[in-house]
Amino acid sequence: MLFGVLNAASAISILLVTTVGLAIIFGVMGVVNLAHGEFLMLGAYASVIVTSLGFSPWLSLLLAPLMVGLLAVMIEPVLIRYLYGKTMESILATWGLGIVLRQVVELIFGTRHHEAPYPTNAGFALQNVHYSYYRLFIMLVAVLLALALIWIQRKTDLGVITRAVMDNPSLASVLGINVKRVYLSAFAVGSAITGLGGALVAPLVSAFPAMGLSFVTDSFLVILAGGTGSLPGLIGSSALLGATDSIISYLSDPVMGGIVFVILAIVVMTLRSGRELRERTHSG
């Protein structure tokens, strides 16, 4: 029982740390980043590089977000800038970006799996199964990340500026807010958090070029089910979908878990749709 709860909590926190970055980008900029899975993949590879150079895996949790964030700052002006608020174009262009990033990594590292070492092998025994402290650490990161973002959104000037831009970019720019800079920062921060997510999950899944695919649909389903621009909604849907997935996967197998994940996300979306439709029509 306790084991099941821990597994569910672990699934939820992994879902959250791999989704929050995407939610920031989508919520603030209206850009659908389908290359999200590749950003996670880059974070995982960053962790592989750092540890293979002989540094501590803990350091990679610092360097991975930095590297992916920097890359995002370079990509934003040449690609993402043309996609603000355009759903269809951003889906397609970032899809292309994903292809390019996968090919670049394949060119350098090949298609084989690279193991990333656990930062700590310590753990505790639970019903004769070794349970790593590292999974507890991921839960801690997820909680801290969620609290920090809620605090920034609600209690800081940065949060107010960001929400103003989300609400009405053209009005915000008239008020003297540099909308382009807000977008650039949102993309960089969102990508950096995604990079952190990739580095965090790297020891659990190992790094390979196509590793992002299994994460990207889950992340988007969480966002679609939780609604855009609402952190509590995101946390709620992560909890619901992550827990269900882990229970079904345990009872049956991960494929069934994946199918139930999709169906549940559609059900939640449909239940919420009436309310959102009205809100959207009002703002439009």
Binding site: L34, M88, E89, I99, L107, V255, E279
Partner: protein
């Protein structure tokens, strides 16, 4: 001369001729292996183009349909032997993807639908489907796939011409469809879903038809694949094939059918050479081309070809009588209608009546809730309480297309058109009044009601029937939207600021015309307006909406002299 005209209208014929003679100039390996396989994938791209390029449904998992059919066919061929095996395998291989597409379409278009939602759902399909196949290895062979499928019993050239002729037939039939009135409707759904719903069409159903058709075309591709390849693996329905199909379609030129096909054949032809020369780099380069096409060159390669063959569609208008559905008096009754967003109440209980043969105006300051009221009546916004009765039929919480089909139409504050369609096609679709048009027939003589024809002449649009709506000026767009709405032959129209942005001269014309419509066609009109002088000159009745409440209504005289109205709204004008 006639040949020249035919080629000008169908430049694809030039490529068909090239395809016909190609086997005589190329090696057997290129013809029998590379080109045949490329043409099969080309059909997959064509099916994706029907969904994405024409109807705007971006499917990131189209290979699932393709692979599903191939697996079904392979399973039948390997597990059953009888004289009927082949025809049954072909039928099942085509029906399977068709039904799967219909099922996916039902889920996608009848729940909460959006571009992102469709993309994410189809993406999960392409990731989950191969995993599902691995779960039933007794049927699918698991990781080993299905091998030993009987190959085409043809020589190289026979095989080429067999597949080639199927391609020609499929593309020819699809050409008939996308150039028919139904095809124009698909483009209209892609361009502007709100408007097409407000013209009375059921967009979910139209998309479902298009997507199912697209699944069927994938089915044609999937039954050609196993006898060509002899082997199917679980990665065929997966992510890589789906991604490739999108890249091929985009680079070839979406929304042209021929473009995606040619793009696929070309890329599959040169890819083996370039992959051998530059491993990885070629795929990387394709990815970069794809991004470039999306951002700076959305028409793809084939749009360059089409540039040399401009087609000018000519339309003629045939006036006919306005088939007024009923001579009886018809009343739109709004009873205690409320709209709220959370704690904010925008409409706080509206009671009002609009009658046919009347021109009534609704005025009020900015933010009073005027557009919200129109939206709540027309089904674009769900009211939180209250009733809307039109000729006794309750309309609250009904869809926009239902309301339009009952004879209550609306215009939008900013003109809402189908931008890539011509003016003539815009008008044509409106005259269908929400009924499904023919899937093969292409209409060029549009029957429009007599009074609408006069508006078209007055607006000067009869000379512009062949140009795309996106090239119209602001005033012309307003005219065209009014024309579209009137073509649905409504009994009552809600006009959201029809004269905003028009010149004074145009306003006077519009005003006279609207008055005439109420007299001759028996229409009931409710105008939302800001310009009080314009309102005074045309309205028979005025209502004043302030802060979500109608504070006064009645004849022009009564309302203008109402002290409450002067205090809250008009006061500043008169002083």
């Amino acid at each position: 001369m006639k040949i020249k005209r035919i080629i000008n209208e169908n430049p694809a014929l030039l490529f068909a001729v090239a395809g016909l003679i190609a086997p005589f100039f190329l090696s057997d390996y290129v013809v029998g292996d590379i080109l045949v396989k490329a043409m099969i994938f080309g059909l997959l791209a064509v099916s994706l183009d029907l969904a994405w390029g024409y109807t705007g449904i971006l499917s990131l998992g189209h290979a699932a349909f393709f692979g599903f059919g191939a697996y079904l066919m392979g399973i039948v061929l390997l597990n059953w032997s009888s004289p009927f095996t082949m025809p049954v395998a072909i039928i099942i291989g085509i029906l399977g993807p068709t039904l799967l597409a219909a099922l996916v379409g039902l889920v996608l278009f009848y729940t909460k639908t959006s571009e992102l939602y469709i993309a994410v759902f189809t993406l999960s399909l392409s990731i989950l489907f191969p995993q599902l196949l691995l779960r039933v290895p007794q049927w699918t062979g698991g990781l080993n796939g299905l091998s030993g499928i009987p190959l085409f019993p043809f020589s190289v050239k026979e095989k080429y011409y067999f597949v080639f002729s199927i391609v020609i037939v499929v593309i020819f039939v699809l050409f008939k469809i996308v150039r028919s009135d139904f095809g124009r409707l698909l483009i209209a759904v892609r361009d502007n879903e709100d408007r097409i719903r407000s013209l009375g069409f059921n967009t979910a159903f139209i998309r479902l038809i298009a997507f199912t058709l697209s699944g069927a075309v994938s089915g044609f591709a999937s039954v050609l694949f196993p006898p060509q390849n002899g082997f199917i693996s679980h990665s065929l329905p997966g992510f890589v094939t789906s991604t490739n199909a999108i890249v091929w379609t985009a680079i070839g030129g979406r929304g042209t059918l021929v473009g995606p096909f040619l793009g696929t054949v070309l890329i599959n032809w040169i890819s083996p050479l370039l992959n051998a020369q530059f491993p990885h780099l070629w795929q990387l380069f394709l990815g970069l081309i794809f991004i470039a096409v999306i951002i700076v060159f959305p028409g793809g390669i084939y749009s360059l070809v089409l540039r040399f063959f401009p087609v000018l569609k000519k339309f003629s208008l045939i006036p006919r009588a306005f088939t007024s559905r009923s001579e009886e008096m018809c009343v739109l009754a709004i009873k205690d209608l409320k709209v709220g967003y959370g704690s904010l109440e925008v409409l706080r209980g509206i009671n009002y009546e609009v009658r046919s043969k009347q021109l009534q105006c609704l005025i009020g300051p900015n933010g009073a809730g005027k557009s919200t009221l129109v939206g709540a009546i027309s089904g674009n916004i769900a009211p939180s309480a209250g009733q809307v009765l039109f000729g006794g039929i309750p309309l609250q919480r009904k869809s926009p297309q239902f309301i339009t089909r009952k004879g209550l139409a609306r215009t939008f504050q900013t003109a809402n058109l189908f931008d890539t369609l011509t003016v003539g096609e815009n008008i044509l679709l409106a005259t269908y009044r929400g009924n499904l048009p023919s899937i093969f027939h292409q209409t060029n003589c549009i029957q429009v009601p007599e009074s609408v024809n006069r508006i078209i002449e007055l607006s000067g649009l009869q000379d512009k029937l062949s140009i795309p709506a996106s090239l119209l000026g602001h005033g012309e767009r307003k005219w065209l939207e009014l024309i579209l709405v009137l073509c649905t032959e409504p009994r009552m129209v809600l006009l959201d600021e029809p004269t905003a942005g028009l010149t004074t001269a145009e306003r006077i014309e519009v005003g006279a015309l609207l008055k005439e419509l109420t007299q001759e066609a028996g229409l009931g009109l409710l105008l939302i307006e800001h310009d009080i002088d314009f309102v005074k000159s045309i309205a028979q009745e005025i209502a004043v909406l302030v802060d979500g409440i109608i504070i006064a209504s009645g004849s022009v005289e009564q309302v203008v002299n109402n002290p409450k109205v002067n205090e809250l709204y008009l006061g500043d004008i008169r002083s």
